[in-house]
């Protein structure tokens, strides 16, 4: 109605530009976020010495290759598991009437906002030698059937997947809800079965959401620290744990910083890819 106002997207008086409201946050982030990151890069090249020795070490010592490989492998597997668990949930949520969806969404939001320590603790209780799962197993198959589920790769994957699923659900749900229901209705009228509709319309149209959730999962899992530290064994060290090891045990800040710099580069690449697919929705956590 009031389209004569449409031109003025910048509100009231033009002489006091509201850009000043961004300044405090920008200054704060420059000081408390950008400078620390630069400090990491500075330390990684040996400060004023400007050497690449720490990076050379990353390439030459086999420990680093193993840990990097662990990190990639664990991240890839947990990303795959995450998408497989999250897709049916998102699909189910998308088909509910809004009120019921809001209610069911709490089942996804609660774990999203639950402390990772609470989850890790729960999994140590659930998966431990005398944990709930092993009690069921021994009750069914006798004492010999006890399985080792904690401090190994499966435990890390379970913990990571649990952490990542809510992020993926939000992202996939957004792309499912954005679909035009008329497309499905048209296909139905023309006689397509449910499978056909799903495979020909719903799934392809939700691919951007799936891809975005996979990239987000990779970003989040590459830098995972708590889960491998608490649920994994010695063979499941990830880059983050090695950074921690260097800071705490060997006091080798240069090596720690070089590792962190690598992590920034790798996750940065994934973040750029993510921003290409979902420019407006980089922060997929808002729903």
């Amino acid at each position: 109605m009031a389209y004569h106002l449409k031109g003025s997207t910048t509100t009231p008086r033009r002489r006091d530009n509201p850009v000043v409201f961004v300044v405090p946050a920008a200054l704060f982030m420059a000081g408390a976020f950008l400078l620390p990151l630069l400090m990491v890069l500075y330390t990684s090249v040996g400060g004023n010495a400007l050497t690449l020795a720490h990076y050379a070490e990353l390439v030459s010592r086999p420990l680093y290759a193993i840990v990097l490989w662990n990190t990639l492998q664990i991240s890839a597997f947990s990303t795959l598991a995450t998408v497989l668990v999250a897709y049916p949930i998102a699909y189910h949520l998308a088909r509910q009437p809004p009120r019921r969806r809001a209610l069911l969404l709490i089942l996804v939001l609660l774990p999203f906002w639950t402390s990772i320590l609470v989850k890790s603790f729960a999994f140590t209780v659930l998966l431990g030698q005398d944990g709930a799962l092993n009690q069921i197993v021994t009750a069914l198959f006798g004492d010999g059937a006890r399985i080792k589920l904690l401090f190994n790769r499966p435990a890390v994957l379970i913990g990571m997947t649990h952490y990542l699923v809510p992020f993926a659900v939000f992202s996939i749900l957004a792309s499912l809800l954005a679909q035009d229901p008329d497309l499905r209705r048209a296909a139905e009228i023309m006689g397509a079965g449910r499978w056909r509709i799903f495979l020909a319309i719903t799934l392809p149209l939700s691919m951007p959401g799936v891809l975005a959730s996979a990239l987000l999962s990779m970003i989040l899992s590459m830098g995972m620290f708590v889960t491998p530290a608490l649920l994994g064994g010695r063979a499941d060290l990830m880059i983050s744990n090695l950074v921690d090891f260097h800071v705490r045990e060997t006091l080798d800040w240069g090596a720690a910083s070089a590792l962190a710099a690598c992590l920034i580069v790798v996750t940065g690449i994934f973040a750029v890819l993510l921003s290409r697919i979902r420019p407006g929705q980089l922060l997929g956590r808002e729903i």
């Binding site: 982030m29 609660l110 996750t267």
Partner: protein, 262 residues
């Protein structure tokens, strides 16, 4: 929508979805009954029910000290990130300026930088400035992580604030601060409240950065929990975890209610 024949596909999809919900709910389902256990060892399900572990948590001074520290840091973080985040969100959604997209990305990017990298950076940086190990250092660090959430939540809220009301007030001669105080902020209140709760919870649960920069006297609850899981697996953890889950649940529900009121 109306006619619903249950095809094998929709039954399978439903089953898969519910297995997913169960998987997500599993930790809470395990933790809550455990917290009412009666003994000093971790057995699921507990043999008898009591409030023994809660009593232990409340009476042990180092758990209480860690909780108090977390509370202090989380309140500080909520206040600081609210101030910075809501103001930035207002600027980003009401102003046009050079490199706006870039600055938006910059302000949101802490959410995508791995916590360990931030932790190391802040450890080196705050250590150089002798702020490491202090409550102020923790508040600053947590604010870095919380601000992106506050900005996104507030920007979503600002999209629902009718700009014509602001324009009308300006036409009638109100100055910007008056407009913000009397029109924008009251309309934005639910989002601001939601953002505050998020910022509080992010700080209260933050572990990686705190683990790197907290001092002996400024150990937060998550840091204490981390070492408790790592070194001893104390049963008190079940009580602490249940309380934290209830806190998350309360905040989730509060935010859901705030959203519905919009």
């Amino acid at each position: 929508m109306a006619r619903r024949k249950r095809s094998p596909l929709s039954i399978a999809a439903c089953a898969a979805a519910w297995s997913g919900y169960v998987f997500l709910a599993l930790p809470s389902v395990i933790i809550i009954p455990m917290s009412f256990g009666n003994s000093d060892e971790l057995i699921f399900p507990p043999r008898s029910f009591s409030l023994y572990l809660y009593e232990k948590y409340l009476l042990e001074s180092n758990w209480m000290a860690a909780t108090a520290e977390s509370l202090e840091v989380a309140l500080g973080t909520a206040a600081l990130s609210l101030l910075l985040g809501v103001s930035a969100a207002y600027g980003l959604s009401r102003a046009e300026f050079l490199a706006k997209r870039l600055i938006t990305m910059f302000l949101l990017s802490p959410a995508f930088v791995p916590a360990i990298v931030l932790a190391l950076g802040l450890y080196l940086y705050l250590g150089a400035g002798h702020v490491s190990g202090t409550t102020v250092g923790l508040i600053i660090s947590h604010t870095v992580v919380a601000v992106p959430f506050v900005i996104v939540t507030s920007m979503a809220g600002l999209r629902h604030v009718d700009q014509r009301l602001e324009i009308a007030a300006a036409v009638m001669g109100a100055r910007r601060f008056l407009i913000i105080r009397r029109i924008t902020l009251p309309l934005l209140a639910p989002s601001v409240l939601a953002a505050t709760l998020f910022a509080f919870l992010i700080s209260f649960d933050e572990v990686v950065i705190s683990y790197f920069i907290a001092g002996v006297r400024t150990q937060t609850l998550p840091v204490k929990m981390y070492s408790a899981i790592h070194w001893e697996i104390s049963p008190v953890l079940a009580a602490v975890s249940t309380l934290l889950t209830l806190l998350s649940l309360g905040i989730c529900l509060a935010v859901a209610l705030l959203r519905r009121g919009r």
